[in-house]
C-alpha cells in the first residue's frame, strides 16, 4: 500500500513531521517497507512529443528520435523502445535528471556513436508502475502540456507500507489515518460526507441469483446519466500521480481514488452497453469474456460473474470486461459497489492467475457497510467533474451483515501483555479505533467496527490495545537459568557426535537441498520409490532425494571442475522413502575423491580406496560407542556401489539392521556422470538403524580390568581358497579361546608365485595373554596348535610351512 503524507492529511490533522510519521507507522504495525522519492528534482521530467524517428545507423534495435520539449531546439534522443514513434506523447528526462528507479544521473552520452541528449522514460523507470515495456504513452490531452513538468511540485514522498493480510481496512488511506489517530498521532478528520438525495429512478434492474456458492452477497449501484467523461482535473491527477498511479479518465480515476482513499473498490460500467439489467450469478463452465487487461478468460463453473442478457460482463470484485468498459464518449454510467466473499474471490483469482487491486482488497475483506459511502462519494465526484444526473441508490442483498459483539475481560490484557494500562485508556483506544464500548460490570461490551474482519475474540482486543499503546511498553523479564529436562535426547546426542566425528576425519560438511535432479536421484535410488514434487522450482529439483549421494556427487564434480583433486565432503541429513510425514531417515553420507596422498618428497602416491572409507565408518562407530569386535560385515550392497569393492556393516551378527554401507561408487555411474577422478569412494551410516547406546559414559567407565602378565605374539600364514574371507579366519581364531586371544591382526594377503591357483595366503598375527598367569612355552604351543587345527578344520585352510 503506497501513501503520501499529503494524502494522509486529508484524513488526519497533525502537526508532526513525516519523520515521526514513519516511525509511528512501524510502531503500530503498519510497517514502512520503503520511502521513495518520486521526484527529487521532478520538475525536470517534461511532457514531450516525438516528432521524428530514424533507425540508428549502427544498431538495429535503437532509434534516434527528434523530441519536442517545448523549446526552440529539438532534442536528439537515442531510444530502444519499440513503441517510440512519431507523434507519441511521452516523458522526457534531460541530462542531469536522476532516474527515480535506478537513482542514476543522466549525462550526455554517445550510444553506439550517436550522441543522445537525455532519455525517454518508461513508467517503471519513473516508479509510476511496473510497466517497463516501452516508454510512457500519454493521452492526447497532454499535448497542451508539452514542455511542462509531468509531475506536480509535491514534495511528498512515496511511503510504501507492508500491510499484513489481517488489516484490509488499512488498504485505504483513511484506515491508516484512523490507526495513527488512535495512537495519539493526530486527530481523524470528520469528512462530513452527505448522502445522495435523488428523486431519479434507478432504471436498471439488478438481481443476485440465490444459488449455491454465490460469491456476491450485496450489490449496490446507482445510475449516472448524461455525463461527459474527460481527463481528470489537476488535483485528482496529481493525487494519483503522487502515489505512482497513471491517470486514465475522470471516471476511472474517481473509482480508483475512492478505492485508495476509503478502501471501497467500485466499478463503473457504460450503462448503454448493458443488455437489459444485471444478473450476478455463478459462471457456467466454458463461458468466456475479454477483461480490461485485454486478455480473454475462459471460466470454470461456479465463479462469481456480473452478467447481462448477452453474457459475462466481468468477474465480480476482480476485473471488469471490455464490452461494458467506460470510455471518453461514455454517456451513462452504472456505478457498482458490492460485497464479494473473500473465499470466492480467492478461488477464482487463483484459478485464473489474476491479481488486481480490487481482488487484493476483496479477498482480505471489504467493509460490508461501506457500499453506500462508496457510491455517495464517487457519484458526487463524477457529477462534479463530468456532470450528469445521479439516480437513487439501489442495494440488492441476499445476506445481511451482522454486527460482531465481544465481551471483553479487561484483566486478560495484563495477563497476556505483562503490563498495565487503565480502563479509561483502554476505552479511549477502542473508541478511537471505531469500537462501540459499553461497560458491563467487570467487562466491556464491544461492538466491532464493520471494517475489522480480523477481530472476533478477546485476544484480538488485547492485540489492538498492546499495538496502540506501544510494544515498547512491554517489560523485559529476564529468563531464569534453570534446566528441568536435558537439552538433547540420546538420538540427538548421537547425531551431534557422528557429525563432528566424521568431520574430524577430514571431511568438509556440506548442506545440500533435500530435493534433487531426477536423473541423479535415479543413479542412487536403488529399489526406493521416486517422490515427486508437484510444483518444483525447476525440473532439476523435481524429486525428494532417496540418497544423499545424488547431491554430493554433483557437487564433488563441480569442485573437481574447479580444479580441486582430492576432496572429501559429507552431509548428515534426511533421505526420503515415501511421501508421508515420517517416511524419512537420517543418514551420514560421505564421499571422497582423488588420492589419499599425492607423491611428495616424503610420501608415496596413493588413491583413496574402500579401506579408507571402511576405516572412517568403523572408527566413527567405535568412537560413538559401538563395539567393533561385534561388527558383522558382508558384501551385499545397493547397485550404486562397485559390486566387488563395497561392504555392508551390521553392529552385530544378528544382522537386524544395516548400520552402514561403504565402498567404491559404481564405475558405470562415474562414466555416465562423466566425473574425472582417480577414485571415488563413499559411505552411508543410517542413524535410525544404530541402536542407541544403552550405557552412559558414567556406566562405561565404572569397570576397569587389565592384565599385567606377559603377552606373546605368534604369526601364522594360512593358504586358503580365494573366496574365504579374512573375517572368517579372524572370527574362527577369536573363538578358539576368547579369554586368551587378545588381538588378531592381518599383516599380509598374498596371491601369486608359490601359491596354488585360486588360493591365497593370509598372514595373521595373534596376541595371546592370560589375565591369571604368565603362559609358558607349553601353554603357548598348545594354543598354537589349537588355532591351526581349528582354522584348518573350519575353513579348509592349510598352514603354510
Amino acid at each position: 500500500m503506497i501513501i503520501t503524507f499529503d494524502w494522509l492529511k486529508d484524513h488526519l490533522k497533525t502537526n508532526l513531521k513525516e519523520k515521526n510519521l514513519l516511525e509511528q507507522l512501524t510502531n503500530i504495525g503498519l510497517e514502512v517497507e520503503s520511502v521513495k522519492s518520486l521526484s527529487g528534482d521532478n520538475e525536470l521530467f517534461k511532457v514531450a512529443e516525438i516528432i521524428k524517428t530514424e533507425k540508428h545507423p549502427n544498431a538495429d534495435r535503437l532509434k534516434v528520435c527528434d523530441v519536442n520539449i517545448g523549446e526552440n531546439e529539438i532534442k536528439k534522443v537515442v531510444c530502444g523502445a519499440e513503441n517510440a514513434k512519431e507523434g507519441l506523447l511521452t516523458i522526457y528526462a534531460p541530462p542531469g535528471a536522476i532516474i527515480p528507479k535506478t537513482k542514476t544521473k543522466l549525462v550526455v552520452a554517445k550510444i553506439r556513436g550517436v550522441t543522445s541528449y537525455g532519455m525517454l522514460c518508461s513508467e517503471s523507470e519513473l516508479n509510476l508502475s511496473d510497466e517497463s515495456d516501452g516508454i510512457t504513452e500519454l493521452s492526447k490531452e497532454f499535448r497542451k502540456n508539452i514542455g511542462k513538468s509531468y509531475f506536480s511540485k509535491s514534495k511528498s514522498n512515496l511511503i510504501d507500507l507492508s500491510i499484513t493480510p489481517n488489516r484490509p481496512d488499512c488498504l485505504g488511506v483513511r484506515g491508516i489515518a484512523r490507526d495513527l489517530a488512535a495512537s495519539g498521532f493526530g486527530k481523524l478528520v470528520d469528512l462530513g460526507e452527505k448522502k445522495i438525495h435523488s428523486k431519479n429512478r434507478h432504471t436498471l434492474k439488478v438481481k443476485i441469483n440465490k444459488e449455491r456458492g454465490q460469491g456476491c452477497t450485496a450489490f449496490g449501484s446507482c445510475l449516472i446519466t448524461n455525463v461527459k467523461n474527460s481527463e481528470s482535473p489537476k488535483w485528482l491527477k496529481d493525487k494519483l500521480i503522487s502515489i505512482g498511479q497513471k491517470p486514465i479518465s475522470a471516471i476511472v480515476d474517481i473509482t480508483n481514488y475512492v478505492m485508495l482513499d476509503i478502501n471501497r473498490p467500485l466499478h463503473a460500467y457504460d450503462a448503454d452497453k448493458i443488455e437489459k439489467g444485471i444478473i450476478v450469478r455463478n459462471s457456467k463452465s466454458g463461458e468466456e469474456f475479454t477483461a480490461l487487461d485485454n486478455k480473454n478468460y475462459k471460466l470454470e463453473s461456479g465463479m462469481c460473474v456480473i452478467s447481462d442478457k448477452k453474457g459475462v460482463l466481468g468477474l465480480g470484485g476482480i476485473i471488469g470486461g471490455t464490452r461494458s468498459g467506460t470510455e471518453f464518449n461514455t454517456k451513462n454510467i452504472l456505478l457498482e459497489s458490492a460485497y464479494f466473499e473473500p473465499g470466492s474471490i480467492r478461488n477464482t483469482a487463483k484459478k485464473l492467475n489474476l491479481d488486481t487491486d480490487a481482488k487484493f482488497r476483496f479477498e482480505r475483506g471489504i467493509d460490508p457497510l461501506s457500499i453506500e459511502d462508496g457510491l455517495n462519494k464517487a457519484a458526487k465526484l463524477i457529477k462534479e467533474i463530468c456532470g450528469g444526473e445521479i439516480s437513487k441508490i439501489d442495494i440488492q442483498k441476499i445476506e445481511t451483515y451482522k454486527t460482531k459483539k465481544i465481551k471483553f475481560d479487561p484483566n486478560i490484557f495484563e495477563k497476556i501483555s505483562g503490563f498495565k494500562i487503565s480502563l479509561k485508556e483502554m476505552v479511549k483506544i477502542l473508541v478511537d479505533l471505531g469500537f462501540e464500548v459499553k461497560k458491563d460490570k467487570e467487562r466491556l461490551e464491544l461492538t466491532v467496527p464493520s471494517w475489522r474482519p480480523d477481530i472476533s475474540q478477546g485476544v484480538d482486543i488485547v492485540e489492538e490495545l498492546v499495538r496502540i499503546s506501544g510494544y515498547e511498553k512491554i517489560k523485559f523479564i529476564e529468563p531464569i537459568k534453570q534446566r528441568k529436562k536435558s537439552t538433547l535426547n540420546k538420538y540427538q546426542k548421537l547425531f551431534h557426535f557422528l557429525q563432528r566425528s566424521v568431520a574430524s576425519k577430514g571431511y568438509l560438511e556440506a548442506i545440500t537441498w533435500s530435493f534433487t535432479d531426477k536423473h541423479y536421484n535415479d543413479y542412487f535410488r536403488d529399489i526406493k520409490k521416486e517422490i515427486k514434487i508437484i510444483n518444483p522450482i525447476s525440473s532439476e529439483l523435481g524429486v525428494l532425494r532417496n540418497s544423499i549421494f545424488s547431491n554430493l556427487i554433483l557437487y564433488i564434480n563441480k569442485n573437481l571442475d574447479r580444479g580441486f583433486k582430492d576432496l572429501s565432503i559429507f552431509e548428515i541429513g534426511p533421505i526420503f522413502n515415501g511421501s508421508n510425514p515420517g517416511e524419512q531417515n537420517t543418514v551420514v553420507c560421505g564421499l571422497s575423491a582423488g588420492k589419499k596422498s599425492r607423491l611428495s618428497w616424503i610420501e608415496k602416491d596413493r588413491n583413496v580406496d574402500v579401506f579408507d572409507v571402511k576405516r572412517d565408518v568403523v572408527q566413527t562407530l567405535v568412537e560413538a560407542g559401538y563395539n567393533s569386535e561385534k561388527f558383522f560385515i558382508d558384501n551385499e550392497t545397493p547397485n550404486y556401489y562397485h559390486p566387488g569393492k563395497s561392504g555392508r556393516l551390521f553392529l552385530n551378527n544378528k544382522k537386524n539392521q544395516i548400520a552402514a554401507y561403504f565402498g567404491e561408487i559404481h564405475p558405470n555411474i562415474l562414466k555416465q556422470i562423466d566425473i574425472k577422478t582417480e577414485s571415488l569412494v563413499g559411505f552411508e551410516i543410517f542413524m535410525e538403524n544404530l541402536e542407541l547406546p544403552k550405557k552412559t559414559l558414567k556406566d562405561l567407565k565404572l569397570k576397569f580390568s587389565f592384565s599385567d602378565y606377559q603377552k606373546s605374539e605368534r604369526d601364522f600364514a594360512f593358504i586358503v581358497n580365494k573366496e574365504v574371507k579374512a573375517q572368517d579366519l579372524i572370527d574362527t581364531i577369536s573363538n578358539v579361546d576368547e579369554s586368551l586371544i587378545k588381538d588378531i591382526k592381518v599383516f599380509d594377503v598374498y596371491e601369486g608365485d608359490n601359491i596354488p591357483e585360486n588360493q591365497k595366503s593370509i598372514a595373521i598375527s595373534v596376541t595371546i595373554q592370560s589375565s591369571e598367569r604368565t603362559l609358558n612355552e607349553n601353554d603357548l604351543e598348545k594354543i598354537n596348535n589349537l588355532i591351526i587345527k581349528t582354522v584348518e578344520d573350519k575353513t579348509g585352510a592349510k598352514i603354510r610351512s
Partner: protein
Amino acid sequence: MSDLKKIKDEFLSKLSGKLDISEINKIKSDLFGKSGLISTQFKKIGTIAESERKKFASDLNIIKDELQDLINSKTNELESAEINEKLEKEKIDITLPERSFVRGKIHPVSQTIDEISSIFSEIGFSVEEGPDVENEYNNFTALNTPENHPARDMHDTFYLDKKKQKLLRTHTSPVQIRTMLKDQPPFKIIAPGRTYRSDSDQTHSPMFHQVEGLHIDKNINMGHLKGCLNYFIKEFFEVDKIKMRFRPSHFPFTEPSAEVDIGYEMKDGKIIIGEGNQWLEILGCGMVHPNVLKNVKVDPSKFQGYAFGIGIDRLAMLKYGINDLRAFFDCDYRWLNHFGFDPLDVPTNYRGLSR
C-alpha cells in the same frame, strides 16, 4: 711398593691416555673381570694376616672405587662424544614440508544450530524435531491458517500430491503442534531444522533453516518473550548490549504478534550488531493463538505462552559476515573451507560459543 699401589699407578696412567671404548672395556675386564687384577686382590683378602687384613681391604676398596669411577667417567665421556658425533651427521632440513594432512570442517549452519541450542539450553529449553514432509493440517490448519486465507500466500509451498495434503514444511512451527499433541504442558522447546518455500533469488533459497521456540506455562506473558529473545540475541552475537525493537505484526498462529528488529551499523563494509541507527529484521514471534492451543487440546484459559521463529541461515550470515544465502548450499570447497568450523570447536556454555 705394594702390589696395590703398583696396580693403581699403572692403570691410572693407562686411563689418562686417549682411549676408545674397546680399550676401556679391556681395562675394565683386566681389572674387574673374573681373574682381573682387582678381583684377584679381593680373593687374597682371606690369606692376609689378621693384623694387616683390615687396612689391606680398606686400601683395596679405595683403589677399586677410584679406578671404577675413572672408568665410568671415561665411558660416559666417550659415549656422549659418540652421540654428539652421530647428531652432527643426523641434521635434516626441518623446513621441508610435513606429511600431508586434511582438515574437516563443520558447516556454519550446523555450528549456528549448536550455538543456538547451547544458549537456549542454559535457560531450560530442550530440542525437539519433526519431519521435513508434513501434512497440510500440521503446517497450516492447526496453526490457525484456514483454507483460503491470504496468509497462505506468504508461504509458497512445495506440494507432494495433487490434493495438497502433503507438503514440505514451510516453517518449523508444525513441531509445536507435534510436541503439544504428544505431551502435556508445560512446554519449553526449541526446534531447529530445514524448511522449504518455492522461492529462489539472492536472499531466498528454496530450502533454508529455522529454529522454532515455544514456551507454554501458566503465566507466561509478552514480557517473558521479550526477556528471552533479548537474552538470546545478546548471547548469540556475543555482545554486552543490544538494541532491539519489537513491532506489531501478524501471523495467524500468534496473537499479539511481533517482528523483532535489531540495531546495527555498517563499518568498513561490515555489519556491526548492536550499534547504530539502522534496523534489521531478524525474527517473528508472538503469544501462541488460543485457537492453536485449542487445536492441540491445551486449555487456553489455563495455559498461555509465546512462540518464535528465527531464520538460522540469516543469523549465521549476520554473525559471520556471509553475504550470499545461496552459497550455503552450493557446496563450494573454498567456501566450506573458509566459513566452516573446526569440529573440535564445539559451542558450549562453559567455554563459550566461539574462540
